[in-house]
Symmetry: C2
Subunit: 517 residues, 2 copies
Amino acid sequence: MNGAQSLIRTLVDAGVDVCFSNPGTSEMHFVAALDSVPEMRGVLALAEGVVTGAADGYARIADKPAATLLHLGPGLGNGLANLHNARRANTPVVNVVGDHATYHKRYDAPLESDIEAVAGSLNGWVRRSESTADVGADAAAAVAASQDAPGRVATLVLPADVSWGDGGTPCAPVPPRTAKAVSETTVKSVAEVLRAGEPVALLLGGDACRESGLRAASRIAEATGAKPFIETFPGRLERGAGLPPIERLGYLAEQVAYQLEGTRHVIVAGTRSPVSFFAYPGKASDLVPEGAQVHTLADTDDDVVGALEDLAELVASGTEPVLAQPRRPELPRGELTPQNWVEVIGALLPERAIISDEANTSGVLLPAATAGAPRHDVLTLTGGAIGQGMPVATGAAIAAPDRPVVNLESDGSALYTIPALWTQARENLNVTTVILNNRAYAILRMELQRVGAEGSGPKAKSLLDLSPPELDFVKLAEGMGVPATRATTAEELAEQFSRALAEPGPHLIDAAIPPLL
Amino acid sequence: MNGAQSLIRTLVDAGVDVCFSNPGTSEMHFVAALDSVPEMRGVLALAEGVVTGAADGYARIADKPAATLLHLGPGLGNGLANLHNARRANTPVVNVVGDHATYHKRYDAPLESDIEAVAGSLNGWVRRSESTADVGADAAAAVAASQDAPGRVATLVLPADVSWGDGGTPCAPVPPRTAKAVSETTVKSVAEVLRAGEPVALLLGGDACRESGLRAASRIAEATGAKPFIETFPGRLERGAGLPPIERLGYLAEQVAYQLEGTRHVIVAGTRSPVSFFAYPGKASDLVPEGAQVHTLADTDDDVVGALEDLAELVASGTEPVLAQPRRPELPRGELTPQNWVEVIGALLPERAIISDEANTSGVLLPAATAGAPRHDVLTLTGGAIGQGMPVATGAAIAAPDRPVVNLESDGSALYTIPALWTQARENLNVTTVILNNRAYAILRMELQRVGAEGSGPKAKSLLDLSPPELDFVKLAEGMGVPATRATTAEELAEQFSRALAEPGPHLIDAAIPPLL
């Protein structure tokens, strides 16, 4: 058994049985070894940002990591932005980055690159397999490291000769570090804060954004009057009819200031206290209201659901959570607007949908329109590195082939990783992409004003415009094998969205939405 | 004057007057400042791999750097692969990477990232501007650093508050470190090698691949019997009728072994001694024939042209260089093949063309077919990080608006940076792209065999296939505003190529070329 075979066998034995791949020559033995471990599924993507984003989306839904296969430093670099997003989502990802043979590195061949420096920028786990005999153990360690609570990016560098060498030995799975239990003392002291009668905000992140955590938080809120919030960009948020409808903190500092106005205590559970996404001249970075105290119920590596349930037992015994009732908007009519397109989605969102949300400015009204839709998951842009939505949708569809995936995607964001469509077609994935095509980096138009940039004129404006030329997403999708249509009215969007959901395989709708601002 | 304005003014004063840009919020003051320095041209690209590759292509033709504008670590990461190629080409590039405001970094906001770690992987020059007053001097230092012989990637990290702060002061240009003169002793000792009567190979790289260096090398070869070669992947090679026709070293170790067979001395001038691109089991990494000696006439940071001319004076006084005569293939007929498409290019290549060559396996017969074509430049894939061809063509066309740019592009490689087409349409660039569409990562099919990977089967094969679904490059191009056609015969390719060259603006031809192997 060679190193590559022992690696793949170890991954599969640890439950990692999907590998999103964009290989090169140094990975050829890994590619060949796929045929000797039938349980491993290799999924080809034509750009590394798709590979890494798909691994992120897969794990957010599958609750276990996928592997990636990347080609030296440049391949890892191309995938870095979506690994940054995965890192911010605390998603477990196992990167396998091929490298030159150990003895070849000193020749500084053209692709020689500092893989560890690039991987190290992710603050995750990085190891280089030094010998074929070690590969199995290194792989098992990588899987465990990726799953150490709350989850992280683990990168295993695999030199070509270590991969092709004989003497590979598969390794049994290694248990990851589980989430730490929160002490009774901490829970009690937070309970005291809640009982003190002052205005409290309860900020939820990580696993607290899923059913058990949301139910406990809702009970706490009902019993104590605390106002619960979801962190601005949760990795995975369960919501819809039958689940507690908890508002997300806004993207803009001004929104958060409004949401937290009057708060005296911020209890954080599975996340950190709120900060501004960017700095703005003369505005605060820390969004905790002045004079308010921050109390940590659970850090991101703590058992946040257990802590919330313990807290609920203390302060909300006998209180039931408040659940969203089934309620959908009426199907709207007329030209598409930032207001009515979300109503189409809310009216037609299917049961058990997964939404990969990179709608950005076009999506600000989406949460209200889908609050009473059938229960669904929302995967958000956790790290701010745009180009996440299409790959994450791709990976989520691989993880849950029986669930409809809806990718709400801004035009500007789509272009970073548009080859994701090809993988969706290749794998016949049930992804319905709606491109919110406003022909601009609309968020940057807004930000240009918000940062107080003076003296901007036509050159600045031009750098934020996505036309001319106009992007034709119907052609782009068809060029990658995905059937596509164009919608300019709410009726068209509704008809096309329904049809796309009813048919198997991927579809794309190029929806002409004017900018919000 | 704010920091951004002083930065742009300093860049322009140092001759850097094009900025390939993909900005975000932290770069908004830079974007706004573009309107206050009219000499700076901002060119928008929709993905960072296009930004950095275009800067590489621009500088290879303009002989001076362009700036890039990138958004924190993820933006730099997306651009890293083409910066790797620029590094291997010794191309001067000035990256401006926006970062959070200095006081905002400690909040670890979602886009907080280790920019220095990522930039540092390029072994270039990295500096963070710490205050607005420093920005001008930092920018001047960055431009100089990028142009230090032989050229490198310089990265200036610009925190948002340093950019928007008042008190910016433009700085006068700083002279870069020029190429070192090669000592008379070295030239004389190399002359002795040439006179000894043993078989010599003279390997040329860097500036030696341009007219003056080629002429000197040709004279030396004529007078001494040394066999001259161009390095495998030169950043810019001048060739065609009227220039010395010097063969490039092959990509495959087997080719190089054949080319260097019997050589006793390898003289390297502006490059390094040849190494295998990848390692292969049981094969040598060092491609210098056994027993042959390596002599360095000029390192990459030496004045290689001066050294070659001095050497020619010693060993080839009175000898004229051998120049390629004008000679074109006949226009072929019939279904496209790996053999005949290059004849179409050779027959029709216009005067003063710039070829951005990412043809990979499809292009192995190209050099012979274009050797007697009108004088042209070839820009090759220097670092092996595919996805270079389209961006480099884009930047080259910005640098030389009066010259036709021909991008010979593999289907697989095209997908990494396909939004380059949008920038070509946006800027109405004279780029004619020929997609060599063989529906496979054909080079990897070959490499799978060459690395001796055993046990590969249908899963491995599938990871190297680009269909199904078939990529429709006509639709992809039209979707980005570039007129496109499909060619399946040599006659169609000839007709479409001629028409594309005759019309202004970008065009794409999707050429159905069967795999070579």
